[in-house]
């Protein structure tokens, strides 16, 4: 009975919070669809009088090269860091050695370090090997500092593959590589999807490395979006259109593969 009475209250609270969480999206979309002269502070809540896509045109022409940079960065970086994470996860879950738990903890700590604490040596290093201000340099950076999280995710994923399966394969004469190739990899598809989504989203959205390791034409889209605001008159409609364009790839991933996104989120929170 008590539970029944509170039903409407539950929905009222949830809907109120939903409106608050959706409000920025509403403002983002309507502002981006207004021509510049209609974007004024006191009409910001009103729907546009006429649909105007010119701000998308402007934003796209400014951001297109950087969007491409982001794709050139994210795709190889995601693939490479998933592969390395899978190798590490396999060893740390199925081929434990003396001290492997400590090794794992030592790797895991890398996930939490503020990247400021390695940034200056990183720049010196990338300069010395000629990869500073280049997409390959950023790819390398993201693969290295993505190792802790991808290792953690694959280790947790492989832990769910039953050990007796590995044992019986060993008895049948399968060696380390065969077990990886014939058992682990074929069973890893979901693991790879979860890790790939997580890395794709994180690398796409990353800002500190992008802003300190690249300049102008090498910059990924998040830095370019931030620079859109740098001009004298802030064209809010263009800013909003740009924000939407820059957010679109990860939003699409989230909408299409939300289930895996959440799984990655939970796996990334160091539970287990």
């Amino acid at each position: 009975m008590a539970a029944k009475l509170t039903r409407p209250l539950i929905y009222i609270i949830l809907i109120a919070f939903s409106l608050f969480y959706l409000m920025p999206v509403y403002v983002l979309v309507i502002t981006s669809l207004k021509p510049f002269d209609q974007v004024s502070l006191d009409t910001m809540w009103q729907l546009p009088q006429t649909l105007d896509f010119s701000s998308y045109q402007t934003a796209f022409s400014k951001l297109a090269p950087n969007l491409m940079n982001s794709f050139y960065l994210v795709i190889p970086a995601t693939i490479l860091s998933a592969l390395l994470g899978s190798l590490n996860g396999y060893v740390l879950s199925k081929w434990k050695f003396k001290g492997s738990e400590i090794v794992f903890t030592v790797i895991l700590f890398g996930m939490f370090i503020p990247y400021q604490s390695i940034l200056i040596p990183l720049i010196v290093f990338l300069r010395s090997i000629g990869l500073y201000n280049s997409i390959p340099g950023l790819i390398f950076t993201h693969v290295v500092y993505g190792l802790p999280i991808t290792t953690l995710m694959f280790r947790n994923f492989y832990a769910s593959i039953p050990n007796p399966m590995i044992e019986s394969a060993k008895i049948d004469g399968a060696n380390f590589l065969k077990i990886y190739g014939k058992i682990m990899l074929p069973l890893s598809l979901t693991g790879f999807i979860v890790v790939a989504i997580w890395q794709f989203t994180n690398i796409w959205n990353e800002f500190l490395f992008a802003v300190s390791l690249t300049q102008s034409d090498q910059q990924p889209v998040m830095v370019a979006l931030q620079n859109l605001a740098g001009s004298q008159v802030v064209q809010w409609n263009v800013q909003m259109a740009g924000a939407l364009l820059a957010a679109l790839p990860t939003l699409i991933v989230y909408i299409l593969l939300g289930k895996f996104f959440v799984r990655g989120l939970l796996a990334g929170s160091v539970k287990g």
Partner: protein, 302 residues
């Protein structure tokens, strides 16, 4: 026998590259930064000569860095508090076998797919002092200045700064909470789903009220989740950079400045590499204080 050892070698071959990379790029580079923080490298020309603690000492005497510490303390408390509370509230409501569960879940989770830069750009517009949310609030006679305010309340003079909550920081808390609530919601929801139904039913049959079931059964079971949420949010909050960079920058009187932002500007705008390194090391130590005990406790439970 022979095969076992060749498997061992293969497992080493698999993991060795990653271990080397982590060893050099995480631990090696941290040591390097640590050394720079004790050096005289304060211009574009590297100078690794030893200068003791002077970079640290001048930081703690610095008005801007003192403001950073204050801002970090209040940002962390407000941010973690709201993310944990709202996330838990929403998770409990969503867990009540409601209709359109996945719709609600998705609404609260989607900001997590955005970057802090996008969030900053949107909320900068929303919380602009003369627009947005404020037009609504003005109808109730409230006129907040949000992120341009330089007020600190309550202002208690400590060192060179006024100690209290900078009003402008609240704007950033709102944006950050908006973005990260989904994380704690997902964590709590997973936790709630893990509590056996029989446990709650048994209590209800014994005549416990819903409140009692919540406080005596559900909350204690969620404690480890709260622990994880606090740890993860604390480390995000301590090193937050992009949201503030995109939304307000350091702010007038440094009311929205944070150590990560100061580190960036000190290093790359002022070319004070030693000073920047010192901030970075302070950041690292503050994160490590939270994370290292947590990692070891978590490992042992495994």
């Amino acid at each position: 026998m022979n095969r076992v050892s060749s498997d061992r070698i293969w497992s080493l071959v698999f993991i060795l590259p990653s271990l080397l990379l982590i060893g050099i790029f995480v631990y090696g580079f941290i040591s390097w930064t640590g050394y720079v923080s004790f050096s005289n490298w304060r211009s574009l020309i590297p100078d690794y000569s030893f200068d003791g603690l002077s970079n640290y000492i001048s930081l703690f005497k610095d008005f801007r860095f003192q403001s950073d510490i204050r801002n970090t303390i209040f940002f962390t408390i407000l941010f973690i508090g709201f993310v944990a509370l709202i996330g838990q509230l929403l998770a409990i409501l969503i867990d009540q076998k409601i209709k359109a569960e996945s719709l609600f879940r998705n609404i609260f989770l989607f900001p997590m797919a955005l970057s802090f830069v996008v969030t900053g750009v949107i909320w900068q517009w929303l919380l602009n002092p003369s627009t947005g949310v404020n037009l609504l609030l003005e109808k109730f006679g409230i006129k907040p200045l949000w992120y341009v305010s330089t007020d600190v309340i309550p202002a208690l003079p400590i060192g060179k700064i006024e100690f209290g909550i900078p009003v402008a920081l609240v704007a950033i808390v709102i944006a950050a909470v908006w973005q990260m609530t989904g994380f704690s919601l997902a964590m709590y929801l997973a936790g709630l789903r893990g509590i056996p139904e029989e446990l709650k039913e048994a209590a209800r049959i014994d005549g416990a009220s819903e409140w009692k079931v919540y406080f005596k059964i559900i909350l204690p079971q969620l404690r480890p989740i709260t622990m994880s949420v606090v740890i993860v949010m604390a480390h995000i909050s301590l090193k937050i950079f992009d949201l503030i960079y995109a939304m307000t920058g350091p702010g007038a009187n440094f009311v929205t400045d944070v150590p990560a932002l100061y580190m960036f500007e000190k290093t790359f705008r002022a070319n004070d590499y030693a000073g920047g390194s010192a901030i970075a090391i302070i950041l690292l130590v503050s994160v490590a204080i939270f994370i290292i005990p947590y990692l070891f406790v978590n490992r042992r439970e495994d």
